[in-house]
Each structure stands twice: as C-alpha cells, then as structure tokens.
C-alpha cells in the first residue's frame, strides 16, 4: 500500500523540482550543419485569395526540386493575423522552425535583433539579379550594413480621387500639397456629405509622406543607433500640414481621429470621400466598392508643383532563418522565390509590385493602372529607421498618439512632437 504512494511522492517531488528549477527559456539559435539534401520548410503569408500565389510558388518549387537532387520543399501558408506569434515561436524553437520565411519589411530590424535571421550579405552581393533591386527595397533588408534576406515585393501609396466629383465641381488633380489641402476643403464645402480627403489619426503610413515632403525625417542615424527627428522644424511643418486636414472643413476630428488606413480606404471605396491615400494593394478593395469606374490615381504631390511626396516603401521580404540546417539550399530557394522571373509572375497573378526596377517597367506596360505607384517609387520612396526600436515605437502607437493629440486639440504640434521624440529616443536607446 505504502510503496506506490511513496513512489508517487518521489515522482511528484522530482516533477516539481524540474519545473521550478528552470529559468525562463532561451533558445540556442544558430545551427552548425549545412546539409545539401533533405526537406526545406517555407512559410509564406496567406493571401485573401491564395490560389494564384500557390500556383506561382508551386512552379518555382518544382523547378527548384528538379535542379537540386535530394532536396524537397514543403510550403506552408500562414495567416497574416497571427504571423507575429508564429514567427516569434519559430525563433524560440529552432527544431520546429522553417528554413525560409516571408516577413513584413518593417519587422526586419526587430527580427535581426531577436537573432532570428541569417546574414546573407555575401550571397546577395554575388547575385546578379540583385543589382536591379531598387534602393528603398534594398534598405528594407539591410540592418547595420548587412543584408538579411531578399525583397519579395513592394507596396506603395498614392492619391485616389473621384473623377466624377472633380468633373462636376470643375476641379483638377492637385499638383502640390497646398493645392491638395485647398481642393479637399473645396469639395467638402460643395458636397458636405463627403470627406474631401479621408485621413486618419492612426494612419501613420498615410501621414509620413507629408513629413517627408516638407523635408522632415522620422529619425537620423547616429553611429549604430538612431536619434528622433520628428520634433525638427521641417517635420513639424509636415505634421501641421497633415493635421490641418482634420476638422469640420474636411474630415471631422470626432470621426477621423481614430481612423486607420483601412478605414480611410473603405470610406473612399463606399463613396464617402472624394480623395484618399491608398496603396496599389487597395486597388481590389476600391474596385469592389461603389466607386468602381469613377476614380483615378495620381502620385501624392510634394510641396512644389510637379514633385512627388516621398512615399513609404512597404512590402515583404524573404529571409533565411539563422537556425536552418540547409543554409546553401535555403539561400538558393530564396533567390528562386524572390528572383525576377517569380516577381514578374506574381505581379501578373496578384498585382504585387516587383522590387526590381526593370521588371517594374515591364509591369507598367502590361497594367497601366500601376503607373502612378511606379512613378511614386521612382521618385524615391523612403523606409522606416532600420532599428529594432521601430518595432516598439510602432507597437506602442507613438506616432498615432502624436497625431491624435494634435488633432483632438490636447497638445500643440511642438509639444506633441517633442513628447513623441522622447518616446522614440527611449525606444532607440533600449534597442541599442
């Protein structure tokens, strides 16, 4: 009778000891092997309509397996909503991690700091196709001068406007930001049921072009780290321009202060706004809305006539995980997936803008719709600071808070941008 109870006690005690003994987990990280055969696991993002992406990828994979005897490729499409958790989990547990991942380009610096991505600077430099990669896309895979992946596609925003409303009111597409703001207010005055230009207090990537167009910067590189420049004079001018669009004469603060990018595009697509700042990736949503056939797209104007406001170069990259046991194979597959041929096919299938300037030119000939977006990229798109601190700044909503503070009248531009700059500097300092 007693023996089993004793044994149980011992087992329990042992279990408790092992449980309490372990400190929080830390994973090993780097792999030592570089096997030339075996299974490569790839995680790509799941698109809303995933079939066309699968077809393009299947083709690449079939060709890759033919060229590399003994290599097998398993592709898994992961939901975009839970990607952050999945990828963090992959960094923590190398045993179940994939060899290659698709990731959002604003995450590059954080993933590098987390120690998850492999440095492929040498391979990227020796890859002939990489010569045509546009500078903004190249910046999006570069951290501290080293390359951590290959750009997969870019996304960029431009100005959507309602041709029918503009014709009716005798307006022309704005050529400067001052004209843009004046046009928006004219529309609102004549058609009070519409927002002139739909803007959002939480729409960071719609607001950044205003800051950049006025010569402002988010942050400037200082040695290995960054220093916030959001409270600089030029940046403040941009913030003033953007926040002047909130009000009863364009987009009432009570409604627009809390809007994000999707909400502004939805407002435009449903016919509630005469203009909106939308991406090439918003095209399908607008086409599906009430304004189909009644709109056009031009690059978002800069401060001087004919200039284009620098846009944020969003998009995704493909990277090799540091924990891969098939480094050479994984890098080859990365080149195949992010190569010119695949990007051209992805554009045809899904409208993803290629990251190579020459492939993009060909794309514009096939689909004139993307021309304004390509012009925007050609005028020089910008990227967020390549620091892991950016991840924290983004997650703690520093910039939306700043815009909302100004828009709701809580703080003036100088105070709000000063506070935001302090928070950014703290995040950059913590990221080291």
């Amino acid at each position: 009778m007693k023996l089993p109870a004793r044994t149980a006690l011992a087992t329990l005690a042992a279990a408790l000891v092992t449980l309490t003994a372990c400190a929080p987990q830390t994973s090993g990280g780097t792999a030592t092997a570089d096997e030339k055969t075996g299974t490569l696991r790839v995680w790509l993002f799941q698109e809303v309509a995933n079939k066309p992406k699968e077809q393009v990828v299947d083709r690449v994979v079939a060709a890759f397996e033919q060229q590399h005897a003994g290599a097998k490729v398993e592709v898994e499409y992961i939901p975009v909503d839970s990607r952050a958790q999945r990828i963090k989990a992959a960094f923590n547990d190398p045993a179940s991690a994939p060899d290659l991942v698709e990731y959002g380009n604003t995450d590059t610096a954080s993933y590098v700091k987390d120690g998850g991505l492999a440095d492929v600077t040498a391979e990227f430099g020796a890859w002939p196709e990489a010569k045509d990669t546009d500078p903004a896309a190249r910046a999006s895979v570069t951290v501290g001068g080293k390359v951590y992946g290959a750009p997969f596609f870019v996304g960029v925003r431009a100005l959507y406007y309602r041709t029918d409303v503009f014709r009716e009111l005798g307006l022309a597409a704005p050529r400067t930001q001052a004209e843009l703001i004046a046009t928006a207010k004219k529309v609102r005055k004549a058609r009070p049921e519409l927002y002139g230009l739909a803007v959002g207090g939480a729409y960071t990537y719609g607001a950044l072009p205003f800051i950049w167009a006025h010569g402002g910067e988010l942050a400037t590189a200082e040695g290995d780290s960054y220093r916030s420049a959001i409270a600089g004079e030029a940046a403040r001018k941009g913030i003033t321009a953007y926040t002047s669009l909130f009000g009863d004469d364009n987009c009432p603060a009570a409604k627009c202060a809390e809007m994000g990018g999707n909400a502004t595009v939805t407002a435009f697509a449903s016919g509630k706004a005469a203009m909106a700042i939308g991406g090439d990736f918003s095209h399908a949503a607008v086409e599906a809305g009430a304004v189909k056939g009644k709109y056009a797209v031009v690059p978002l104007p800069g401060t001087t006539p004919g200039s284009i406001a620098p846009a944020f170069a969003g998009g995704n990259n493909i990277g090799v995980l540091r924990s891969t046991r098939h480094r050479t194979l994984a890098v080859d597959l990365m080149k195949a997936l992010a190569g010119k041929d695949t990007q051209a096919r992805l554009f045809d299938a899904l409208g993803f803008l290629p990251t190579y300037t020459d492939v993009r030119r060909q794309a514009a000939q096939k689909q004139p719709f993307v021309q304004p977006f390509i012009d925007t990229l050609g005028a020089g798109a910008r990227f967020v600071p390549a620091s892991a601190g950016w991840g924290r700044i983004d997650a703690s909503l520093v910039l939306p808070t700043m815009f909302q503070e100004v828009v709701s009248g809580r703080k003036d531009v100088r105070t709000a941008s000063g506070d935001a700059a302090r928070k950014m500097d703290a995040a950059f300092a913590a990221a080291g």
Binding site: A5, A23, P24, T26, F91, G115, P252, T401, Q404
Partner: protein, 328 residues
C-alpha cells in the same frame, strides 16, 4: 503528468482502511513508534494530488511571472540573440517613473470602481425586482439577462460599437444625437465601455443575489413584517445582513473582473482610444508585453496588478468580518 495524477489517487482510495490500523497498534502494544510519525504525514499525502495541481497551475506561473519581472527579458533574450540578465527592481522603477503608467493606473482604478458600483447597483436592483414580479416577466428578464451573460465579450463589444456608431448606429438616431461620436471624448468613451461592462456582468450579480434572497427564510421576513418594518428597513436590517456572504462573493468577483478588463476597451476604443486616453492596465500591459515584446516589463505590470487585487480583496474581507463581529 497522468502518471503523477493517477497514482496518488489510487493510493488514497485504497489506503483508507489503513487509517484505523495504526491507531489500533498504537493503543495496543505501542511498538513500531515510527508508525506514528508516518501518520502525521498522512494528511499531506492525501492533499498531495490537489497541491500538485494547484502548484502546477498557480504557483509555478506566478513564480515565473515574478522571476521574469526581475530580468531583462525581451524577444531577443527568448530567441537566444542576447543573454538574459538580472535587473533587480529595474523594471519596477522604469514602470513607476513612467507618467503614462501612473495615469493609466489611476484611470484603471477609477474605471473599475465605477464599473463595480454600477454593476452591483443594477444587479441588486434587478434581483429585488425579480422577487416582486410575476412568473412570466421574471422569466423574460431572466432570459434577457442570460442572453447578455452568454454573449462572448468580443461579440458584445462589437455590437455595442455598432449600436453607437456615429453614422449608422440606431442609438444616435433614437436619441437624436446626430453624428455624435461616442469614442472621441475620453469620458463618453469610458461611459460607453462602462455601459457594455455593466450589461455583460450584471446577470451574474442578479442571479446570485436573487438566489440569496430566495434563501432568506420566510419566517424572518414575516417576523419583520409583524414588527411593522418598512420594506427599506427590512432590506437594511434583515435581508442585507443575511445576504452578506453572497454580496462579498459578487463584490470581490466584480472587482477582480472589472480591474482586469481588456476585451471591451481593446475592441470598443480601438486598442486604447484616441491618443491612449482610454488605456487600462491590462491593455497597457498587452502593448508592453506582447505587441512590443518587452516581456519583463509586462510581467512587472502583472505583478503590480496582482498585488493591488490581493490588497483590495484582503481589505474588503477584513472590513466585512469586522462589521459582522460588531453586530453580533
């Protein structure tokens, strides 16, 4: 885990007859003194399965929470990019020197207090109403309350946001508020969330208090009536004291729930409201711990919340016990 869970269970079931055995031997011959020492441990042996489960599910996570709150532990440490280091009270000093944290803490305490008071008031009032109405309206009220209770928080919050939408919401149209935006102002946004919180948590209070009222013996109420007590006097001097244990439970439950509010704020104010005006501690901790991967700072916030809730609960229990003894 299955091994450790079943083994002691089997042992305790089969060992029951043994309990009388040592007593007999002790009284009889007095030999094998070691037996008595063994019997002192016996209750603990029986408690072990429960303790093991509690330890695994409660103590261990709390231990980890506390430990992480003293470390520098971000995503870089988790995935092995950088070594984990000990920071002492560094995370706590960071936290309390952050003016936003202090402001969020204050907002959370006030908001939770308002929610608890409102929930208890509505719940108790409706419970009393339930005892006064006929069967059919009672059934209707019960069903409506259970419906609100059964609605998942995310669904409930989304529906409320839609109901109060400035452009398409029926509430503004009914009240003639035009395109008034509830989530724009700090207080109106908190008020909106408060209404939703009360809506989804009053049924628990109502049902529990109703059950408590029903359990009050009819003779006592009859005696009060014979003594000529008014309804208010009856409630204050007879029903409420007899309901005290029930009220303690619902109050503490409500405090804990309302202090930990997350879903309603996160969904209804879009993750903390305009410029973070509607942040509460849990949403703030989420921003710090998960969205920006500062797990150690998030843990420190968790520990602070735990301590506050423990303190509130202890003080509340203490006060109630004191009152009870005075009256007796």
């Amino acid at each position: 885990m299955t091994l450790t869970a079943t083994r002691p269970g089997k042992g305790s079931g089969a060992a029951r007859p043994r309990r009388s055995a040592p007593r007999r031997t002790g009284r009889g011959t007095g030999r094998r003194g070691g037996r008595r020492a063994g019997s002192a441990w016996t209750p603990w042996l029986y408690l072990l399965p429960a303790l093991a489960v509690l330890g695994g599910l409660l103590v261990y996570p709390l231990y980890q929470l506390g430990l992480i709150s003293f470390l520098e532990y971000t995503q870089a440490q988790v995935s092995g990019g950088r070594p984990t280091s000990f920071r002492g009270f560094g995370n706590y000093t960071d936290l309390f020197s952050d003016p936003q944290f202090r402001q969020v803490l204050l907002a959370t305490v006030l908001f939770a207090a308002a929610c608890v008071v409102a929930t208890l008031a509505v719940g108790c009032a409706l419970a009393v109403l339930l005892t006064r109405v006929r069967a059919l309206p009672r059934l209707a009220l019960m069903l409506a309350a259970l419906g609100a209770w059964a609605t998942p928080a995310v669904t409930g919050s989304t529906v409320w946001v839609f109901l109060f939408d400035p452009d398409h919401g029926p509430v503004n149209r009914l009240l003639g508020l035009g395109d008034f935006s509830w989530t724009y102002g700090r207080y109106s946004a908190f008020a909106l969330v408060l209404m939703e919180v009360v809506w989804c948590s009053f049924p628990f209070v109502m049902v529990t208090v109703y059950a408590g009222i029903r359990a009050v013996p009819a003779e006592v109420l009859e005696a009060a009536a014979l003594d000529g007590a008014s309804p208010w006097r009856t409630w204050r001097s007879v029903t409420a004291p007899m309901l005290r244990p029930v009220l303690v439970v619902v109050t503490i439950q409500s405090i804990i729930w309302d202090f930990k509010i997350f879903t309603q704020i996160y969904v209804m104010t879009g993750g903390g409201g305009i410029a973070g005006q509607n942040l509460v501690l849990n949403v703030y901790a989420y921003q710090k711990a998960f969205a920006s991967s500062q797990y150690s700072l998030g843990s420190a916030i968790g520990v602070v919340m735990l301590l506050i809730l423990l303190a509130v609960t202890l003080v509340h229990l203490r006060l109630l016990r004191g009152q009870g003894e005075e009256e007796r």
